[in-house]
Symmetry: C2
Subunit: 147 residues, 2 copies
Amino acid sequence: MATGTACPLCAEDGGALVWRGANLRVIRADEAGFPAFYRVVWNAHVAEFSDLSAAERSHCMEAVTRVEQALRQHLAPTKVNIAALGNMVPHLHWHVIARFDWDSHFPSPVWAAAQRPSPAEREDAVRQRLPQLEASLLPVLESLQLP
Amino acid sequence: MATGTACPLCAEDGGALVWRGANLRVIRADEAGFPAFYRVVWNAHVAEFSDLSAAERSHCMEAVTRVEQALRQHLAPTKVNIAALGNMVPHLHWHVIARFDWDSHFPSPVWAAAQRPSPAEREDAVRQRLPQLEASLLPVLESLQLP
C-alpha cells in the first residue's frame, strides 16, 4: 500500500495526539474498556517492523519503552501488553496497553472475548490520571534521538 | 514471581527449542491453526520489556527481527504479528507469528474468534518449509551479540 488516503494512519493521526516527532507519534486510542491504550505510530508508511533500519527499530522501541514506563509509574497496571499486528492497517504501529486484573478481558488479550462487564468507576479513576501521565511523557519523548 | 517452578517459562523451554543463547531462546509454539508461530523468550525471569536494560532490549528486539525476517523470506506471509502480552505467564516472551490471508483468524488477531476453518493443506505446506527456515536462523541468531 502506498502512502496516501487509502491508509488511515497516513491520512490521520489515528487517535488523540499525545506527541509527534520527526519519525513517530504517540496517540491515545479510544478503545472501549481500556482507558490507558496508547499507540506508537511510525510516521512513514512501512508495514513491518523489519522494514525499519536497525537505528530506526531502536528508536521506535525506545519510544514504546518510554510509554510502557509511564504506564507503570502512573497506573501500576497488573501487566503491560505490547503488540504490532497491523493485519487491518498494515502501517507500523505498536499498541501499548495498561492491563488490570479487573478489566473486562483480563487475563485474555484485549482482542479476545470479554470475561466480565467493564467496571466504569475503576476505568474513570484510570482516565483521571492520564493528563499527568501524558504531560510527564512529553519531555521524555522529546529527548529521544534517532541514533 | 520469583524464578522457580511456579513459572512455566522458568521450568521449561516452552515449546520446541529452535535455538538457545546466553540471554534468550527461540521456540516454535504448537498453536493449532498457526504453524509458523514462534516465541522469543528471555531466559531470565522478568515480567515487562522495560525491566530489561537498553542493551538487553536492543538485543531482544534484534532477535525478534531476525525471526520476523526469516518468516518473511521463507514464507512470504500476508503480515507478521509481534506481541509481548504475558497476562497469563508474566515472563517476558515475544510472540512472532506469520499470518496469512487464508488462515483461520485473518485479519483478526490469533486471540480473537476464528473466522473460518483452518485449511489443513495450506498449513501443511507452511509446515514443510519450517525446517529450512529454522536451519537458516541458527547462524543468524548465533551471530547476535549483546551490545
